[in-house]
Symmetry: C2
Subunit: 502 residues, 2 copies
């Protein structure tokens, strides 16, 4: 092997190992760390982050990469090596292109912005948060011009989360979704046939919820020898390596659906992480693809599988045994309808699969407007509420339940929101491809036989790591490019049946 | 502040923060890490260790230290700064004086030696382990000559664990202990009045043991806002910072004394860690003193406090409520006698406080003999068994229960064992000093009022960090140098009463 490439591998693996340590620290902080350790931990993380920054911007790494880049499209290299060089070069250039002062300003504002957002939310006072948002917009435009000067600033921000995807691609898809989903939601809302969800409220013992969460996660395919399940304030999937994947959930005694479906969601992320091709070394090619593809994996299991009728039919008996007080008089069919209840509400993270895209589209349109100057920060509460009224027919009573609800903007994460809905579209399109290749899927789910599904996702998506772009993944897995028809047809068919719409 | 000193502080704090990360990783590995992650974790630890080594041997650190050292005894510096410079210089020189090849050979043999020791123990075959021991002796002599050339090789090895302590100081103390303890053990053994310990065997629910462990640890003074308690195969006290101290124990359903007293022991270590003067920065002066002083803190709580009659009187009711099946017909007095049962046995870690020192002395004499050439590795099983017979009147039936029982030598940790007994002597001498200053101590313990005791240890020992040598600590706290009389008198008085010896 080429000496430069060997050198590159050594450098990249060291960085990957240090990032693995950082991830484990992050998990520890959310799950294990005693409250009094926050200050000392912040210093430890800063020290490690400093070392990682030093390594990732080491000019010797740059020299090595440029040397390799000049030969990387020749026949010397296979696809794996080309991917490692390409990704490492992109990361290196993104790191070194940002002036140190800009890095520091963004970091400082992220940290300060978070506190200001929390307070503004508490006080229901958007005007306190507006200056942070204005400053962040300026910094993020500057950042985009440094890092990805060939892209429009908002596209550059999207690119960070969903590589290769631009507003030019997203806008027509989102327009289509609005056109189809707004009438569907109207029809659902107008219908007299609303599912009974009363039995989902009550008292559900945490111990039983945890036993169910572990059972479902294991049966879906989470490998507990290469991972853990714990409790944290916000559910997440973390851990330091594909052999050490850590998922969390939280248990509310008054709602078992939340913990159950959040653990299925995180298990979807975890299967992707556990399925990464780490035998190729701790190198960029083994990393997961974009946020949207990652979200497609969690939503695949949460929505396409676990919110399906077959899944409910299979597991309802176990749910009823665990919570017999509440579910004794309920049928699996009624349970299926209840968990798929569609109802416009103010909060994105609690939204159902039909209304969720409109929450995302609203944010997308606002972000796009902020970047192109057609929307002013000071007008956001009004713009937000008008769009909520237009898309979901409801108006938030406060900004806390409206424009201030999400943490993303307080950390400068513009361009992130579209990933959620792109993930939902990918998931649905992948599922249709699976049905074509494995027509028995619904019957398999109905008996809890998930192995062929997991294997299919492993083979089609997980084992390729970062080898392909999200666009290539969709093409390779489904034989066509991203097509919102699958998602629209899926929702229409499912919800017409549930709500008996004509 | 001097620019060199500022530079030093920055470098030392970065190293301390990285070491804190390493500690947290070590804890995670023992307590949380899934089994499949061992290989990836080893690589992450190696990467971090490499960075720490790079930082601790950075010639720029050396230059800065030498610059400061030349002025460090002048009036420019207070005691704290002098301590930081002195300790940092010692660490730096110890790191850079060892040839890289020797570092690697020791690391490699430690890792390989561990596996060979486990196998030899399983096969009860000392001869398989002997070559490792011979090689380690050679390497550790070489190491000593590089690192502390002014000391005899065995003294250099002791110095690593118990700074400033040499065989010339230890031997007379250990001779005295033999002279006094061997007859005491004989007298105890020969006596017809043996305590009833049958009620300590039975079935004790783990949940109840854990509740008791948490209660005792909290009441003694462990701050759960700056620490955690978990389960691991071997109990230990770890964590990454005085604000993040993590203790562990293990629960056996057939023995609740083991988990209870191990958690008290680890709480003693933890109080020391939580009491370190971290407000002075993450610098050498805030570190704990030697292994022996650390052990004195765990043994102080385990033996001087928790094995006392007052402690048993106070807590017995809680123990009886938790385990009423076993303890219903037992009195606090009988419980006290049972947990202080003295009986020579083969295994050091299970030994009582009277026989324990003889286990240590035996190992000390063997190590000393190995280093001065008067004992040959191949003769160890025979030497071991002869000394066991001589000191404790028993002969191990196998080498697994004899010379192969401890892991220390498989990692090259010669000179460690004396710390255990020095710790016991320190603990006892500290306790007598406490009694002089706080004559109400026994009455306080009898009502579970530990705050003045913890406060006294905080003030006298913990808050000084590494400012004083162990010899200075003993002198400052007790007004005299280490004096084994306290320990001997304590044991004689206590065990004459328990066994009603004349």
């Amino acid at each position: 092997m080429n000496q430069h490439y060997k050198n590159l591998v050594q450098r990249l693996e060291e960085i990957a190992h240090l990032n693995g340590v950082m991830s484990t620290l992050g998990w520890d902080q959310e799950v294990m760390m005693p409250i009094g350790a926050s200050e000392s931990r912040a210093k430890q993380i800063a020290a490690l982050a400093g070392i990682i920054h030093e390594r990732t911007t080491d000019p010797a790494l740059g020299d090595c990469l440029h040397e390799l880049h000049e030969t990387s499209n020749t026949s010397d290299w296979g696809a794996i090596e080309r991917c490692n060089i390409r990704e490492a070069l992109r990361n290196y250039e993104m790191e070194v292109r940002i002036p140190k002062q800009l890095v520091q300003e963004i970091a400082e504002l992220s940290s300060r912005g978070q506190g200001i957002w929390v307070a503004a939310r508490q006080d229901n006072k958007f005007s306190d948060f507006a200056p942070v948002l204005k400053r962040f917009l300026k910094l993020k435009v500057e950042w985009a011009q440094c890092v990805l000067p060939n892209l429009q600033p908002y596209d550059a921000n999207i690119d960070l989360f969903e590589r290769g995807t631009t507003t030019a691609m997203i806008t027509p898809i989102f327009e289509r979704l609005k056109l189809e989903l707004i009438p569907l939601i109207h029809a659902i809302q107008g219908h007299s046939h609303q599912p009974d969800t009363s039995f989902l409220r009550g008292k559900f013992e945490k111990e039983k919820q945890e036993l169910l969460a572990r059972k479902l996660s294991r049966e879906i395919g989470f490998d507990f020898d290469r991972g853990r399940m714990d409790v944290s304030v916000h559910p997440f999937c973390g851990g330091g390596h594909p052999t050490d994947v850590r998922i969390t959930t939280r248990y509310s005694e008054s709602n078992f659906i939340e913990s159950l479906y959040s653990i299925i969601h995180e298990t979807g992320h975890a299967l992707y992480e556990q399925g990464r091709p780490h035998q190729l070394g701790d190198l960029p090619v083994t990393e997961s693809s974009t946020m949207g593809i990652h979200e497609s994996q969690s939503l695949f299991w949460e929505r396409m599988i676990a919110q399906s009728k077959s899944f409910c039919m299979h597991y309802f008996q176990a749910f009823r045994e665990a919570f017999s007080d509440n579910l004794q008089a309920v049928t699996a069919e009624e349970f299926y309808r209840a968990i798929n209840n569609c109802k416009p509400d103010f909060i994105r993270v609690e939204a159902d699969e039909v209304t969720y895209p409109l929450h995302v589209i609203l944010r997308y349109e606002i972000e796009r407007g902020l970047f192109d100057g057609s929307v002013a920060v000071d007008d956001l509460p009004q713009v937000w509420n008008e769009l909520m009224q237009k898309y979901l027919g409801i108006k938030p009573p406060t900004d806390t339940l409206g424009v201030l609800q999400d943490s993303h903007w307080s950390g400068g994460a513009f361009g992130y929101f579209p990933s959620y809905t792109l993930g939902a579209l990918y998931a649905c399109q992948f599922y249709q491809a699976l049905l074509k290749e494995q027509p028995d899927t619904e019957r398999n789910v109905a008996v809890g036989y998930f192995a062929p599904i997991k294997h299919w996702l492993n083979e089609k998506i997980h084992r390729h790591g970062k080898l392909y772009s999200p666009q290539e993944i969709v093409q390779n897995v489904t034989g066509e490019s991203l097509n919102p028809d699958y998602f629209i047809t899926y929702l229409k068919t499912k919800y017409r049946e549930i709500y008996q719409l004509t």
